[in-house]
Amino acid sequence: MLDVFTLFLFNIIVYNIPLLYGTTGEIMIEKSGSLNLGVEGTMAIGAVVGYLAGAKTDSLFVACVVSFIASGLVGLLFSFLTVTLQANQNVTGLTITTFGVAFYYFIGNALSNSASGWPKLSGTRLDVQSQAFEIPLLSKIPFFGKALFSHGILVYLGVIIAILMWLYFKKTVPGLKLRAIGENPGAADSLGVNVALYKYTHIIIGSGIMGLGGLYMGLNMGGTFEGSNCWINGYGWISIALVIFANWSPAKALLGTLVFGFFNTLRVQNAALAYTFPDTLGWLTKIPSHFFSALPFIITLIVLITSSLSSKNKSGEPQAIGRNYYREDR
């Protein structure tokens, strides 16, 4: 019985860490006052480019670095278009998604049809490096140990990034300045903060973090390319929803990942749970899996509406989000 719950918790983490990457990356971007709807595309590009580089050099480290750089370049494109060229953020972000997902399929199909074929993961050193390993002592803790401390390196990296980002926003001067830009770029500018530089840097880093999440998804799916199913599979969009659920806080994003991950895992494992506990959880099979899939979006919609209903403004939503900053309009 215990095993079922441990496995459940383990699966929540294994399959939903990409959400954490996507969400923390997007939080960093949104805190600078930009709404990037290109998460799905950015993750797709980071995934495919990073994976191919990793497979070529047979190194997880190279895969991560290249994935970060590739997605960072997408972030650079987004910042160039929206910050320097004042293009509309929604349109630019959506185009990045269209472009990125098409890029993923296009490269994948082209390589699969080529003579050398799509590089395989199983049996390579890249595969070994991305495998789960047990942290000594910690993983021996009953019940939680196996679920929390026997994962691949990228799982821990995601958690570390979230914690570091939380500290960065809360405790550092650049973090404070960044939040100021997200609230009121005009005021920050008049205090001598280089708004454009801050936006560029954080959009690029945020996009890079998303790319790592994409790479994780690719590796987690055994690195096999399927012509009909994108590795990212809508996780980019759930990440955008999760940013709202987490109220723009990287620490709450950790919690939110577990909550959204819980429903995600329930969808996959409802049959197993209902089978193990026919009396108490038997009803689970009656709920259609589509409901669990839609649940993150339903919850987010409710959170979005209820938080705007309350008169007290405790929302972490940056006030200047979605609007470009053009000095002369100030």
Binding site: L35, L37, L77, L81, L85, Q86, A87, N88, N90, V91, T92, L94, T95, I96, T97, T98, F99, V101, A102, F103, Y105, F106, N109, A110, N113, G234, W237, I240, A241, I244, P288, H290, F291, S293, A294, F297, I298, T300, L301, L304, I305, S308, L309, E317, I321, G322, Y326, R327, E328
Partner: protein, 367 residues
Amino acid sequence: MRKYHLVRRADARLKRTLIYYAIGILVSLIIGAIILVALGINPLDYYGRMFTIGLVGNRYGYKSIEGLLKIFVPLLITSLALSLSFKMRFWNIGGEGEFLIGAIAASIVAFNSTGMPNFVTVLLMCLAAMISSGIIGIAVAALKVKFNTNETLMTLMINYIMLYVIRYIGETKADWNFFLRDDSERPKFGTFPDSAVMAGIPIGQFKLLWSVLIALALTAIVFVYLKYTKQGYEISVVGDSSATAKYAGMSVGKIVLRTMFISSAMIGLAAALAVSSAGTISDTITNNVGWTGIIVAWLSKLSVPAVFVTSVLISILQYGCQAAATQYPAIDSNYADLLQGIILFSVLVADFAANFKIVRKEDAKNA
């Protein structure tokens, strides 16, 4: 200090904009050609096939036109609808969700219409779709007006909720589910009875569907509405500055609600026409028009004639890619999406170049 800075051009000349846009599109096509060459494909031959959408040397060329129009009609109407709300700076990115709601509502009518006259059924389908999509539009607008809820994120969520609703309908075998075929073991969407299938005017072998004529008429109506009516004027004032609109005595909330209803209802109409023309519904019935429509509206700078032209071009791009795939199976519809993205990126740069100029600090002082 920075030596250069940006200045918005005082005169936005149409000719200059068009030239810059043309350069942008040309550059995108060249980038697309480089990708094709890298895959060992002759880009001139490929583009030739793509832009002629398989018409040349094809005895069944009329089928190409019919296929093109099936992509074109929903895209045109959705783009028009979205530009209405964008003009008001209301970021309705829920085109996909509104389309699906309309499609489901129209299908409910369609599946229960056996024996009814065709004209009545199609009319009822359109009305059902327009009302259901319109209600969602009004609900979103009301929340935005009353509580300033972020409309971009709200409509985004609706897109995905609706996607899972239609998948649920399409994948659940049950007694209540009249959407599915009875004779199939696996869940599969049924086809509409003849009463619900879009009719048309036969021209030789080619059949000009009524939906095409409706779309053309609607384009004209929206053009007149925006340009020559009080309501159209109000939309542009609210878009420029809602404070100005308020001082001028306009009721901003009412205008936003009304426009969002019209905008969403139009997307519902597009959906009703699409399912009726297809004779069935599916979870890919939107053909991504909710997303592509945003790109079309933006490429066209929300101008109605430009939306028309851009919709034609994007439809040719998408359908042409499908048509060329018969000759080049290695290149599928993703190439159209890729090219579409590159075109929009280039045009955004071109748009900037047409509207801003870079001035040296000293020159600006002297001027």
